[in-house]
Amino acid sequence: MFGALYAAEGTDQTVLESVAREFSPRIEVCGPREITLDLSGLARLFGDARTIAHELRRTAADRGLQVRVAIAGTRTAARLFAHYRAGLTVVEPGAEADALSELPLSLLGELINPQSQIPNPEPFTTHHQPPTITLRQWGLRTLGEFAALPADEIAARLGAAGVEWQRVARGEDRRPLVATVAEEQFEQTLELEWPIEGLEPLSFVLGRLMEPLCAHLERRARGAAVLYVRLHLVTRAVHERSLQLPAPMHDARTLRTLALLDLESHPPEAAVDRITVAVDPTPGRVMQFSLLTRPLPSPDHLSTLAARLAALMGEGRCGSAEPVDSWRPGAFAMKPFAPRDAGVRHSDKPRRHDDAEFEHVECLRDSAPPRPVVALRRFRAPVPARVREEDGRPVRVWIERSGVGGGRVANAAGPWRTSGAWWDPQSWDRDEWDVALHDGVSYRLFRERRAEAHSAKADRWFVEGVVD
């Protein structure tokens, strides 16, 4: 026995869902204001189907909802009646086809709700609108007239989709009820008896909240992907922080440490009288270690280290470097440090055009360079310098920074002109030189050719780095 609830416009779906769950644990959300229920076994609690329908409507009314209630032997029949008729409708099991026979054909279209963000509960109709126009052209007006047509003739004219719609017109279910699982909340809140200030007392409270939260995650085989900490202040403001975690984790101590390190950098402005900790759950990760290589530190470990380093050195100062697709000298990007599992290393060679899925997997030893390559120690902000030139070549360098020497040029290579990003305000246009001074130190210099507005940077010399 199945029931269908169809609520008025503007109904709060969560309230409707809570009403349905009071009667049955197996419910399916069919639309923004439509729910079907499996009412098997409720007869022992409430009695006959009409009593159950009355109870459903009364409970919904107590919550301020106006609903249509229909009970029938099939979900499809219950839904059709809920859409058609206001109030209560009860159809004896087995009599669905006869009861539906007088209902208009337009009801078939109401089972599809294109505005709904919930997947269509009738999968076969996802791409097929009911052939209502065609059926009207044939002179049909009711579900009974459509149901009475021979199935093979319907198949020949309207295809398999037409046959399916005919079964719906008879009130037949094409699939069993797929229960909608209630969204589980992973959240803990604590109201404090008196406001607290400072991180130390907050640490104890966070620990107390994290323990049951992590236990809940562990029971569900979930990890936290995002951690939310909401501090309700005595000033009625809410200080909210969210931490994106590098890997799913459910260790209370690690989560507490990460939250505290973040609050250390972003402390609340007033005392706290209520704390809420919540997480976005995600399936736990499956880890498989290699017997041939050393294991990497766990993501919990690394994320705690990254948080401590960020608190010490500043945000964005720690992580992995990433080359960017740019010819700009020294271009790079920073990303969070998240090493891949140990094992083979995938090469950066471009994929072959004839096989996009093919990847080169190289032996670890084969990827080492054949010879060492000269390294550059790059000044992140180029150091201004003065250069005396003869015949277009630098002969003497004065560097305007203490601790960085200058002197007479023993050897010079250049110029190599480089420019780019002309469309960008941060374009570059320079002539680069490698110079070796008499004291043995080699520098990479460049002369800026681009004149900036309100700046005398054109034809200025800079030291880009030290060859070391």
């Binding site: 290589t293 690394l302 080359p323 090493p339 140990a342 060492p372 010079a412 130190v441």
Partner: protein, 236 residues
């Protein structure tokens, strides 16, 4: 009588649980175990180092600007990031990503900690704290701190207990702690000092590479010798 005195001393130490610290020696380094070292990837250097830099020790690379110390550092980072992870505390933010990519460093496996500008003493203090955090976290094959551009006066003013503390942290672990300094500064008893002197090589007004003479020094001359490293210029 001497044996009785020794036995009574050992009993007293054991009662105060000092016997492990003062009477238990660490196992000697097994030089036949290749996994006890981190190689540089340069045959000549690894031959002099007899395998590479020893794990669980503090070693150093010292040299003047353009001596090849950064090239050698990147070589070691490249070798360390093959299968393991490494960290670089870049005190003065001098790390060049293009040079690192040319040295075949797996950048995804290198934790780069960038220092900020400011008073040298504060910058070095933060760098040392970051180094301590990384060493305490463990799990890294090589943790290097680049102090090459810090004035030797500032480095000499650091208390010697700084290096002793670092040594205690890495002792017995699988981590190599490497200092890159302008002059020899500190190393642990089992660590190595690698002195670099180098010269840029030129051909027809063009830089073709960097020739570095490397001298390895260790306590009691266990590992001692010279090597040469020739690096080619990178078109970056």
């Amino acid at each position: 009588m001497a044996n009785n005195a020794l036995a009574r001393i050992e009993t007293a130490l054991r009662e105060r649980k000092l016997d492990r610290t003062l009477t238990t020696a660490l196992a000697p380094l097994d030089r036949s175990d290749a996994s006890a070292f981190i190689p540089s990837g340069v045959e000549a250097i690894d031959a002099v180092l007899r395998g590479g830099l020893p794990r669980g020790q503090v070693s150093e690379i010292a040299g003047s600007p353009s001596s090849g110390r950064t090239t050698l550092l990147l070589q070691l980072l490249g070798a360390a990031t093959q299968g393991e992870i490494a960290a670089l505390v870049d005190t003065c933010d001098r790390f060049d990503v293009a040079s690192a990519a040319a040295a075949a460093i797996d950048l995804d496996r290198l934790l780069w900690i960038r220092g900020e500008t400011g008073p040298p003493e504060r910058v070095v203090d933060r760098a040392i704290k970051a180094l301590t955090l990384v060493l305490q976290a463990g799990g890294f094959a090589l943790v290097a701190i680049d102090l090459a551009d810090v004035h030797p006066r500032v480095l000499r003013s650091l208390p010697f207990t700084t290096w002793l503390r670092l040594q205690r942290i890495v002792e017995g672990s699988d981590t190599v702690c490497l200092l890159v300094t302008p002059e020899p500064l500190a190393r642990s008893a089992g660590g190595l000092t690698v002195m670099c002197t180098g010269q840029t090589r030129w051909e027809s007004h063009r830089v073709t590479g960097l020739a570095t003479e490397i001298r390895v020094v260790s306590p009691r001359r266990r590992v001692d010798g010279n090597a040469r490293m020739t690096a080619v210029a990178n078109d970056y």
